[in-house]
């Protein structure tokens, strides 16, 4: 049997670089650890370049059906690389100031990226599960990385325990599907499920429920969201940045792989389940966010509601819906990156800047950063002309197209409720008297520039909305069209 490792070269590269950095660290003096950081960033950049250079045109399966390479995987992987890269750049000063600037941090990050890549390309239950575990394990460690912080440790503990529970459910669901179909290969499962898909097939329902619950847990949809606020809040903001961005895309990818790639014939079943999850997520996420006084916690609940929105696109069950979901996911991750990026930007050694009150009157001392916050908040609230608006629009259109108008109405309603707490942030920033007399921001130039670019892109990419959506459509087409 011949082994074609050509398509997984970028993954091998990431893995190898992680190991290189790990070994290199032995010979690095603490003050020269920047080398590890630079290597990490370069690795992600090169990996993104590799995916770009070998961009898939169709859909192909490698390694005994365990690895799928298609447009979808390449789009999502490039996005994950860029997101992770930005995360590391954003958090460099932050972790330096908190003595977390260790090579292990970057190594864990790279392994997490590797896990996400495996998930995105998973064509097999086993690969999917292992990728997920690789990601989760790295994330647990990253959340707990600030060893001396009891909140961080507590958050990591909760994340770990609940994550284990989620993984167990995923395994159980998969085992039931396996018992029914006799295969772990998703495309084989698809064929058998298609033949057996009937509303009264209770075994399929049972397996589906377990899988769905674990997926909902991974992306943090209500009622499996409990870990999200605690982890986002407790973790060092650098880790929150990481947890809240790229893994969401990976989660979206495995939902597409499992539900669309494998169990699309059960759409009539998982549609209703996803409706429940989506509505609950939007409801609770937006409602509870209002009561928060902590910015990170507020953004965590906001993330929950955004995931509900992303699910809307998926549950539409049409290629349009999936690509709207993908578009939403892409836009959201970059907005969320900016949102937590602001927290990183404003904080400095010994000062977290994660309370809403810390933002008071920021406009008076730093009008440009206040403006960045304005853009991020507007985009999250879905105010035109930001990308966030178009993301919401396309998802709602997809939902209306499948005649779930009531769901669209609910979504819009919750958007309005959600606008409250986003706008409150803007009010704090612009209209309230400053909380601190003189606020110094010790952010480095690269953080300032990239965060500004991140925010401005949410508006300036407007003319590109068409091409980006077209790219999402083609990515989804490569998944749906493979069957």
């Amino acid at each position: 049997m011949e082994l074609n490792i050509q398509p997984i070269l970028p993954e091998i590269f990431i893995c190898a670089m992680a190991c290189v950095i790990l070994v290199l660290d032995l010979y690095l003096k603490p003050e020269r650890r920047t080398i590890a950081y630079v290597l990490t960033v370069m690795t992600l950049l090169v990996a993104a370049g590799l995916y770009w250079q070998d961009f898939a045109t169709g859909s192909a399966v490698y390694l005994n059906g365990m690895f799928i390479k298609d447009r979808f995987s390449d789009v999502v992987k490039i996005a994950i690389c860029l997101l992770s890269l930005l995360v590391f750049v954003y958090s460099r000063e932050y972790i330096k100031a908190r003595d977390l600037f260790l090579s292990e941090y970057f190594v864990l990050g790279l392994f997490a990226v590797l896990g996400m890549m495996v998930m995105v390309s998973a064509g097999h239950f086993l690969a999917l599960y292992l990728g997920l575990e690789l990601l989760s394990l790295s994330l647990y460690a990253m959340v707990a990385f600030q060893r001396d912080s009891s909140v961080a440790t507590e958050a990591a503990m909760k994340y770990f325990v609940l994550g284990a529970l989620g993984s167990a459910m995923l395994l159980y669901g998969m085992s039931i599907i396996y018992g029914l179909t006799g295969s772990l290969d998703i495309s084989v499962v698809r064929g058998i499920v298609a033949a057996q898909a009937a509303p009264d097939n209770v075994i399929l329902v049972l397996g589906l429920v377990f899988i769905l619950v674990s997926l909902a847990f991974k992306i943090g949809a209500v009622p499996f969201h409990m870990w999200v606020p605690d982890v986002y809040h407790g973790a060092p903001t650098s880790s929150t940045l990481f947890v809240s961005t790229a893994p969401k895309l990976a989660g979206f990818a495995i939902i597409i792989r499992l539900l669309v790639g494998g169990l699309e014939d059960l759409h009539f079943m998982w549609r209703d389940m996803l409706i429940v999850l989506a509505v609950l997520s939007m409801l609770l996420g937006n409602l509870i966010a209002i009561a928060q006084t902590n910015l990170k916690r507020m953004l965590a609940y906001s993330a929950i509601s955004h995931m509900g929105f992303m699910l809307l696109g998926i549950l539409a069950g049409t290629p349009n819906g999936y690509s709207a979901g993908l578009f939403y996911g892409l836009v959201y991750t970059f907005m969320g990156l900016g949102g937590f990026g602001i927290v990183v930007l404003l904080s400095r050694a010994g000062y977290e800047a994660d309370e809403l009150d810390d933002l008071r009157g920021l406009n008076q001392s730093h009008p440009w950063y206040a403006f960045l916050i304005l853009i991020f908040m507007f985009s999250m609230a879905g105010v035109p002309p930001t990308l966030g608006f178009f993301a919401k629009l396309s998802v709602i259109q997809a939902v209306i197209d499948v005649e779930l108008t009531w769901l669209a109405v609910i979504a819009v309603l919750f958007t309005v409720i959600g606008a409250f707490y986003y706008l409150r942030v803007i009010k704090l920033v612009y209209f309230d008297p400053p909380a601190v007399a003189a606020r110094e921001i010790s952010a480095t130039a690269d953080l300032r520039v990239l965060l500004s670019a991140n925010a401005v892109a949410l508006v300036l990419l407007l003319p590109m909305v068409g091409p980006i959506q077209e790219m999402c459509t083609q990515a989804i087409a490569s998944v749906v069209g493979a069957f």
């Binding site: 329902v205 589906l208 429920v209 377990f210 499996f224 409990m226 605690d230 509870i288 966010a289 009561a291």
Partner: protein, 648 residues
Amino acid sequence: METIYLLTPLACLVGAIVAGLFGKRIGRTGAHRVTISGVAIAFLLSVIVFVDVMNGNLFNGPVYTWAVSEGTVYQIGFLIDELTAVMMVVVTFVSFMVHIYTIGYMEEDPGYQRFFSYIALFTFSMLMLVMSNNFLQLFFGWEAVGLVSYLLIGFWFKKDTAIAANLKAFLVNRVGDLGFLLGIGGVLYLFGTLDYADVFAAAPDFAGETMPGTETLWMTLICLLLFVGAMGKSAQVPLHVWLPDSMEGPTPISALIHAATMVTAGIFMVARMSPLFELSDTALNFVLVIGAITAFFMALVGLVQNDIKRVIAYSTLSQLGYMTVALGASAYAAGIFHLGTHAFFKALLFLAAGSVIIALHHEQDMRHMGGLRRVMPITWITMIIGTLALIGTPGFSGFFSKDAIIEAVHYSQQPAAKFAHIALTAGTFVTAFYSWRLIFLTFHGEPRDREKFDHAKESPWVVTLPLILLAIPSVIVGWIFVEPMLFGDFFGSSIVVRPEHDTLARLAEHNDPGHGAAWQMVAHGILALPVLLTALGTVLAWIMYIVRPDLPGKLAGRFSAIYKILLNKYGIDEFNEFFFARGGRNIGNFFWRIGDVKLIDGIMVNGTARVVGWVSSVVRHIQTGYVYHYAFAMIIGLFVLMTWFLSS
């Protein structure tokens, strides 16, 4: 030609922008140079367009597509035909004159550049209005001239009366604009397009269409609503109240906007919509009645005014009433003709009045004037020419247009025509009286205010030149245009008249063929009732203000009731103040306190916010922080999902 069309309004716009935004930098001279050259270019181009149109080159087409929504196209476009060409020439000429005049009139005003920017902007807006080929752009121009009018009435924004006047103009015009907008909405609803050509082409097919559930014709509703807009803009009773107050603005504005051009936009619009109005007799009768009331009763109010500008303002109201009546009698051409002649002589009268006002250092009360003919001969003579034109002295431009209207109404078969005919005929007497009263009080007799009289002197050439230039057309345009405009086929297809409504054609039948229509009208008119009444009015004014100056006071005492009614302008302002203003405030207060504060703010807005906040504060306690609670929540979620979908 398209470039020329586009260039005409844009020349003014550029002037307005430069003078408005860079006024400080280019200075006073720079501001008036740039705007005047803009308007001069516009005037020249308008003349070129006019000549071109006379040669039969019409144009109708889009320039720019603004938006397409559900099949309806929203465009900027030009419709250049005879009607447009006449309006363009009139607007740009009067505007040009006013620009020049302003140099002298506003000389000492600190807002010099701002003023020039505004009037250039006004010219642009007005051109956009008349050149439009669709309702949307018409509405744009409509609102834009309204805006500039608002800005200019309140130009001296530190003067309380000016602010009150511009607010009043704004509010009253809002009423009209609402009707206008509804009318446009009706057009869009019924025809599915806003393009003139499409609407007019389809109009006959919809002539019999009634509104669901009623007997009312769609066309009647649309025309009435559109006419409400015209009533607001062209100051017809009862929406006329803003125009006299608008005299708070600088005099050039009164001449340009509130006499010659903007207020005639309503007349122009109805003439433009003649294909629609022709389809609804109800609407035409309504137009007749409103116009007649305005023409006669506003003239009466002019009798008792003492402010020189207000007299002319009421005269404007009255003349607008004449034009409106012409429209109602389907004599659109006569209406437009009167619009044109009126623009010249009324602008002349205003500018002459302005000249007097400058000479007397912003004294506007005629009771403090008198004998000025000796020191201001040019102003005096030009104003006499304007007055002669206004009262309809045979041979002057106003005579032809006004007489044509009265005759046209005479031949109209509309039920309301009889009333309108009487009102207009009687109006000529009143017009003559108040016009001469103005002249006699201002220029004749002995100076009543010696001190002011001694300082008075003739205005500089920038003021008198426009007077002379305007006096010329006030005399001659009638001779030139009466034949083609009224009896020829001057307006071509731009105005549509149904044969049974064609009063001007009937008027033409009474003219002997072969002789010039102008001569015939003069010959015919000298012995007709309107001219006799005019002469009577003139004589009466001469007796009362020159021969026996004590008579007016006695008469006012004798007929104090009528005098008071007229002085109070029929109490319409008081009625509005009491009924609409206070009533509106009370209703507003009611809705504010009960509806807004309690229901909407209290229950709906704050209530929902409070409920959401409360729910939020309750629900957040789900997040206990205990990991086994979280796990348990997950299990319950799983359990519920499982049970639900297994059982269904």
